[in-house]
């Protein structure tokens, strides 16, 4: 379908060879019509082949399709968007490919919104495109607070989580007894942000950070870092490693025998990480979760539907993509058009609730806040069924779960 649109566009260019205008990709959609091109196109741009494939990837496309089906079922003939298409592309975690694909999706495939986009550099690049093309972008997969900070813009929203929210959730265990912390973080933007957010959140909660240790990224060998982190006898060792590095860290942490002496807190973890390494290696580890499939009946029902389609349980990223697509379509419904400005107007300042967003709200900086959770990984003996890995210890109410609206952001 991508090819069709493209060759049509090329044909149009070739026939109008002397009239150069329009070939570089059209301007913003016409605001007057109800639905531009008679079709609403939702584009999922994410990692479909690399490290984020399992936690989001192709199954997020499925989640978005579920949202489309639910929207169509709910409104039937009354749906403003009668013809809806879901397209996707693999950005391979490369910001340049994300940037080019985003342009192509908006211009040639007539996407009205782009969803997901993990990897902060790629997300920021797509936010720039959204701003220029005046089309919507809802980021789910990236963690940087820049999206709703200095790089915020009118058309970009940040849905599921960010580094500040992860820190606030994890720091909530200070009041459960984890006062003294050592932090180990990978020395690049994500890790540096996490380290900063964690340090201030822990201090606010009344705890102390004894050490902050930067590590290379990527890194295989954490032995020395673990020894160093343990040397100050902390209650909690926090690691900001993610993906393969996180597995390296956890295996070596367990071998070092530190597991009996300190709690391990992980900065960013998805349920797919626990699944791949095995629940035993993670038992007792705490982390902030944006959503857990087995939290209540409502989540579970949705997760069952998800499992029918994908044969696996959803991560919070899958649920967040569903929620983002659904709330976008609801906003189109309220606005009566897919015109970007009108839809943005229907989202801004709204209180939203669905299977993912509990007490959700679209803030002035376009950060979509909601209740978050401090989770602990179960012991193997406590697991009752596959993917039943988490105990929710604290619920952090939306109002306390995020940093206040950033002063750096002006839309």
């Amino acid at each position: 379908m991508a090819r069709k649109t493209k060759s049509a566009a090329i044909a149009a260019c070739m026939t109008g060879a002397l009239v150069l205008a329009g070939c570089g990709g059209g301007g913003p959609s016409a605001g007057g019509g109800k639905i531009s091109d008679d079709k609403v196109v939702l584009a999922v741009l994410n990692d479909q082949s690399g490290v984020y494939k399992d936690l989001s990837g192709p199954n997020s496309v499925e989640a978005v399709k579920m949202a489309v089906a639910d929207y169509q079922k709910k409104y039937g003939d009354k749906a403003v968007a009668s013809d809806i298409e879901v397209i996707s592309a693999d950005h391979q975690n490369k910001p340049d490919i994300a940037n080019t694909k985003a342009q192509e999706m908006y211009d040639r495939q007539k996407a009205d919104i782009i969803l997901d986009v993990p990897t902060s550099s790629a997300a920021l690049a797509v936010a720039g495109v959204a701003k220029q093309k005046k089309k919507l972008f809802i980021d789910v997969g990236a963690g940087t607070t820049e999206l709703t900070g200095a790089s915020c813009n009118k058309y970009t929203f940040h849905w599921a989580y960010d580094t500040a929210m992860l820190a606030k959730g994890a720091a909530s265990q200070v009041k459960n007894g984890g006062k003294k912390w050592s932090l180990v973080y990978p020395d690049y933007a994500f890790g540096q942000d996490m380290n900063k957010s964690f340090t201030s959140a822990i201090k606010e909660g009344g705890g102390t950070v004894q050490q902050s240790i930067p590590t290379p990224f990527p890194n295989d060998n954490f032995a020395t870092f673990i020894t160093k982190a343990a040397s100050s006898k902390p209650d909690v060792i926090g690691t900001m490693a993610a993906g393969g590095d996180l597995i390296n860290f956890v295996k070596q942490f367990n071998q070092s025998g530190m597991r009996d002496k300190a709690t391990l807190a992980v900065g960013l973890m998805f349920i797919t990480d626990i699944h791949s390494l095995g629940v035993d290696q993670f038992a007792g580890t705490t982390f902030t979760d944006a959503w857990y499939w087995n939290f209540d009946k409502k989540n579970r029902e949705w997760a069952d539907r998800f499992k029918e389609k994908t044969d696996t349980r959803p991560s919070f990223a899958h649920a967040a993509n569903y929620s983002a697509a659904l709330q976008y379509l609801e906003a189109v419904q309220r606005a009566g058009t897919d015109d970007s400005d009108a839809v943005v107007g229907e989202l801004e300042g709204k209180k939203l609730n669905d299977v993912f967003l509990r007490d959700g709200e679209v803030r002035a900086d376009h950060n979509v806040i909601h209740d978050t959770y401090l989770a602990e990984v179960k012991k193997k003996s406590e697991v009752n069924e596959p993917w039943d890995y988490e105990k929710i210890i604290n619920t952090i109410p939306a109002a306390d779960a995020y940093e206040p609206v950033s002063k750096a952001c002006s839309l």
Partner: protein, 289 residues
């Protein structure tokens, strides 16, 4: 002081592992003159095969330590027969391109079959827990990796210096023309030597399984470090690779302990300095560089 000793021990443990992993790369370059960029992928394959054998047929760590390197040896023989043998007389550049291509294919095949999130692996029986020595405490497995790597390095060294096969292999590395003139069929040794190198990479992979993430990408950055180790030691020098492995392990551990943010660049600074001061690495034959 005890912290310093602890870091030193950790550096030696990491170094032993680097030495073992780089050994195969050094042997292959020494004998075949082939720069094997697929070495990281073969290391990955060793770990993945261990994890899969554990999952499917319940093959545990100890037997895997013997069986997986043999499988990888056979795989290496296959690679040499199908692809690498055509490279022997070509420029290093083509080595790089071909073995890089092989690595890309292997990594993606594993990704498609076993996913991207990694495979689980158990802690080997008998190697759990820690060893305590006064105030020091080291993971038992780390100590084992160090001792085992040393053993393998020494065995390879004996093989190369004390056996007839080793003599021939070394002779064909250092004086290929003269060895040929003496009526020894150098080419006959090329295939088994390549297989041997790949087997060593596989062995490193088995050792990695209990303490590193088993993912398709695990060899990607690792191979760059291994190249640095081999170049620092001097291309083709087996002793050099071992010494450089320890050097890199120690530099890394001290860097991590005392200058954390600089530890990621330490190995490259070390490599640049060594190449600039000693053009053919620490143990390479200097006159030919």
């Amino acid at each position: 002081m005890s912290a310093f000793i602890q870091y030193t021990l950790q550096g030696l443990a990491a170094g032993g592992f680097y030495a073992l992993a780089a050994l195969g790369l050094a042997v292959i370059f020494g004998v075949l003159g082939v720069v094997n960029f697929a070495h990281g992928a073969c290391y990955m394959l060793g770990a993945v095969v261990s994890a899969v054998l554990l999952d499917v047929v319940g093959l545990h760590f100890w037997p895997a330590l013997v069986i997986v390197p043999i499988l990888m040896f056979l795989f290496g023989v296959l690679l040499e027969r199908v692809f690498v043998q055509w490279l022997l007389r070509l420029d290093v550049l083509y080595n790089f391109l071909l073995t890089f291509g092989i690595a890309l294919v292997l990594v993606d095949l594993v990704k498609r079959r076993y996913g991207v999130s990694g495979l689980p692996y158990e802690q080997p029986a008998g190697l759990r827990g820690q060893l305590h020595l006064g105030s020091l405490s080291l993971p038992t497995y780390q100590v084992f990796v160090f001792a085992f790597s040393m053993l393998v390095c020494v065995l390879v060294w004996l093989l190369l210096t004390r056996t007839r096969i080793g003599m021939i292999v070394r002779a064909s590395t250092e004086e290929p023309e003269r060895t040929r003139a003496l009526g020894i069929n150098v080419n006959r040794w090329v295939t088994p030597v390549f297989g041997f190198g790949i087997g060593l990479a596989g062995l490193a992979g088995v050792l990695a399984a209990p303490f590193r993430a088993i993912t398709a990408d695990m060899g990607g950055n690792f191979v760059i470090i291994l190249f640095a180790v081999v170049v620092i030691g001097g291309l083709g020098s087996v002793l050099g690779a071992v010494v450089a492995g320890f050097l890199v392990g120690l530099v890394e551990a001290y860097g991590q302990a005392y200058a954390s943010s600089f530890s990621q660049i330490a190995i490259f600074v070390l490599m640049a300095l060594v190449i600039l001061v000693r053009p053919a690495g620490l143990f390479g034959r200097q006159e030919t560089a």
